[in-house]
């Protein structure tokens, strides 16, 4: 019963919500999109975006009368699905060959991200939510100090309580950040220095070449050192489909080496890493200053937190709330274990 009332309220809200009034209430609201489509037909798109929209992305738009955008979403879904099937076929056919994987794994990841994004876009578009979202300022261009406390559980490590400090200085064309993650007993330390240069910045694309060094050490005598050079792509496809305008995702491609030390000796394990990646959606919308909701998949193999099953899935979910120069971030990551953190910081 309660669910029924909630659904009716949501649907009613969806019908009566006026995107323009939303924008006018926002603290720093952007100029809303002026769309010629009929708002009164949108509500019916919400259930269509779920059934059959979960299978056929764009159904919400198409069946609520916005056929052009719906068809574009369907085509994009087809393209993503094709890319995913093709790359997965290649991975399976070559049995994950170390030679082909550096190309095929990122391709599978990118296609998978695009596939997920077309469904998000369908839902966001028909619900009118895309109007209250904003691209805002990319996180690399922000300067802030952030402290957080994290609780960590996984299968093996005896490390549970972490104090984290992150300082970032960001400008339009480069950024530099230093992260320190200390386990409370001192048994594990992680230092990560990274910087990036903005190769390209446009309305639709932020492209960064990054360089970084990272040192992770535990009291068992294991030390990992990594040099990584991720390529950061922050892509906005609003030029292609209007409803994709305010939805964007990131994809990292990393290259690095790791050295493992054993009981203080200089022996090592060489574990080359190419194509570590992550993707997800970061949705920002104006609430006070703004609230950012993110969810994503991350795959890398030098963390305490490992992944599960196919593609070693580690998921990250986060909330970031900015208000008058202060920020608070809440993050939850889970794979073979989890990490939960909350923070306070300042932005300048």
């Amino acid at each position: 019963m309660a669910w029924g009332v909630l659904i009716i309220m949501l649907l009613t809200g969806g019908v009566t919500a006026n995107p323009d009034s939303l924008a006018s209430e926002a603290f720093h609201a952007p100029e809303p999109d002026r769309d010629s489509t009929h708002v009164h037909t949108q509500w019916i798109g919400i259930p269509f975006a779920i059934v059959p929209g979960l299978l056929l992305h764009g159904s919400g738009h198409y069946l609520s009368g916005r056929k052009v955008e719906g068809a574009k979403l369907m085509k994009t879904q087809g393209l993503a699905l094709g890319g995913f099937v093709l790359s997965m076929f290649g991975i399976i056919y070559t049995a994950g060959s170390g030679i082909t994987s550096p190309v095929l794994y990122p391709m599978a990841s990118f296609s998978g991200a695009l596939f997920a994004m077309t469904w998000f876009s369908d839902v966001l578009g028909v619900s009118g939510l895309s109007r209250s979202l904003d691209r805002s300022r990319p996180i690399q261009k922000q300067s802030f100090l952030d402290f957080h406390f994290a609780h960590h559980e996984d299968h093996q490590s005896p490390y549970h309580r972490f104090l984290n400090f992150t300082a970032q200085f960001g400008m339009d064309d480069f950024f530099l950040s230093l992260m320190s993650d200390q386990e409370a007993s001192g048994g594990y330390q992680d230092y990560h220095l990274k910087g990036g240069y903005n190769l390209k910045s446009s309305e639709n694309l932020e492209l960064y070449m990054m360089g970084g060094m990272r040192r992770q050490q535990s009291e068992e005598g294991i030390a990992l050192t990594q040099l990584d050079m991720p390529l950061h792509v922050d892509l906005d496809l609003g030029w292609f489909i209007r409803t994709l305008k305010h939805v964007y995702f990131q994809n990292w491609i990393s290259y690095g080496y790791q050295w493992f030390h054993f009981n203080g000796k200089t022996d090592f394990i060489h574990d080359m890493s190419i194509g570590q990646m992550s993707f997800g959606q970061r949705l920002r919308f104006y609430f006070s200053d703004y609230l950012q909701v993110g969810t994503g998949y991350h795959r890398e193999n030098n963390q305490l937190l490992g992944g599960t099953d196919f593609l070693l899935m580690v998921f990250h979910h986060d909330l970031r709330f900015d208000y008058k120069g202060f920020l608070s971030q809440w993050k939850f990551s889970h794979g073979l274990g989890y990490r939960l953190s909350g923070s306070l910081g300042v932005q300048f």
């Binding site: 299968h155 093996q156 490590s157 890493s273 937190l305 992944g307």
Partner: protein, 363 residues
Amino acid sequence: MKYVHLTLLAIALIPILLASCLNHPDAERFNDHQIGIETYEQVAIEVSHGPLIRIGSEFFTRVQAPKIDLSFQSTNPESVTVAIHLSNMRRDSLPKLNPDRGTLTRIGGDTVTYSVVIAPNENISVELDNYPDRSHYRFGVVGDVQSNRVAGRMLAESARNYNLDFFVIVGDLVNQPEDKEWGWALDFVKQFAVPVYVVVGNHELFGDGYKKYRQHFGKTNYQFSLAGDLFLMLDVADQSPSREVYHYAESLLENDTYDYKYVFTHVTPVDQYGNRNNGFASSFHAARFLNMLQRNNLDMMFSGHIHSYKEYRVEGVQYYVVGTGGGIQEKLDGIECRFLVVEKKGNGIHVEKVDVPCPVYPF
């Protein structure tokens, strides 16, 4: 009204979040405790290695070690006769009984029947040893057959030429854990004509794989000793040793009375091609695991999962990735199916690579 949109957004995210949280198979990882235990006529029966299935008044087990213990604890005021059919036994001779209690009868192929009369309220423990008084052995190791019937037949045929004592399959014996594949697997392992001991792989665990695997093969973490050496089979099929598996391994490897120590897993700790992540999910944990192995003087570790042959050595420990036994071959490396023959002779351990031109599968 903005709250409506926030709520809508949250609802849209719920299926994704739920889907991402669903799969936590690790709770099953060390749930071996009730395997190999049954009760009959007020007699608690336990088999140390293998499942114990009761059908009516008959008991069946597939033995997963060269030497096993059977224990019977009776609270029955009357005498009880128990007969257990044991498969996957050595074919050329009956095992030695210690103490010499009960009778052994070969009923064909790799199966013998052990019958014993339990006196009223009696507790007895009997050891069945397939290879008594051995100071040497020769065994084969292969991985990832993945229900490739043709390749499996060729492997078994080739293995029979090496006069092996037993064979180890380091996971992914089946491709999909369905009844027909389990049926094939149980028939297939008989083709080796020697006992075959199995390690659990990720393909065995799809769906309710743990349950089915334990029904057919017993525990997912177990150990045995032969000729003074330790053979330790571990479940890291989900690309991570759980805390329990780690401590189980450490507690056994700490014992320095063994001449040689072997570990068998499906997944190798470190994949030399890190980008595809076919080693442990966390390389940090892999390094910790490698340190533990090195600290406890492990000699060799055999794994599968990666469908190509690899070997590496870290601080005195030799690691082998034995390659595919029929699963899709890793292209571009020029290696087809391969198994290893490991032999303990007077002057140490020798490892030989045996290539089998198995058919490409499934393409």
